[in-house]
């Protein structure tokens, strides 16, 4: 029970407060666990009615590359979960244009609808946040 709900038990202090939460994803999936466990926090955050943004920069853009198939490495393919975020009202996904370009990727390679921002705009968006969790 605690596991599936993430132990959500908000006390009075936090109800009503809405902060700008940014999850900054800078790492590729599968090579390390950060992409997967970041996504688990994002899902839990949906229950707290905060203003959540996901930002994909550097190798983080690989997390939402189309066509992932993990049978060969014996790990779980968690990429479909990004498409489920909308159902949790997590709709602000930002991807950095320069990060895509340095990796030979375009918006068409991504498995979910995102807003592509220039590095300058991404930097400005970071500056607006209240809480930044980096993975």
């Amino acid at each position: 029970m605690t596991e599936s709900t993430g132990g959500i038990d908000m006390d009075e202090d936090s109800s009503g407060t809405v902060k700008k939460f940014a999850f900054i994803n800078r790492k590729a999936p599968y090579g390390t666990v950060y992409a997967l466990e970041s996504l688990e926090v994002v899902l839990i955050s949906a229950a707290f009615d905060q203003d959540v943004s996901l930002m994909f920069i550097d190798d983080g853009v690989y997390q939402i590359k189309k066509g992932q198939g993990t049978k060969g490495i014996g790990m779980k393919n968690f990429s479909p979960t990004y498409r489920a975020l909308e159902g949790y009202d997590i709709e602000k996904l930002y991807v950095e244009k320069e990060s895509l370009e340095e990796r030979g990727l375009t918006e068409a390679d991504l498995l979910v609808d995102v807003e592509v921002l220039s590095r300058a705009d991404m930097a400005a968006l970071m500056e607006e946040q209240d809480v930044i969790l980096s993975f």
């Binding site: 599968y30 190798d59 066509g67 993990t70 490495i73 030979g104």
Partner: protein, 99 residues
Amino acid sequence: MLHIVNKSPLEKNALDSCLTHAQAGSTILLIEDGVYAVTKGNKVEPAMKKVMESCTVCALWPDLEARGMQDTVIDGVKQVDYNGFVDLVAENATVQSWL
């Protein structure tokens, strides 16, 4: 010598260091996040093409496929599975992992 690189080329310096130390005739095997180095349009594509003139470059396809990069591999890269990985280790007298 078999060189193994498991790091993304744009996140860490492991590939750079491998490329500046690998002797002509060596084999370089890319695994885990290292496979991004042999995908088309990556910033390191020119460096990979250059090293392919003197070294054999291989990539583990289960890792390419996991990352959705199987359709964008640079021409001339030899794709291997775990059996092929084992063969490469057996064929080369020494193995160096660039961690």
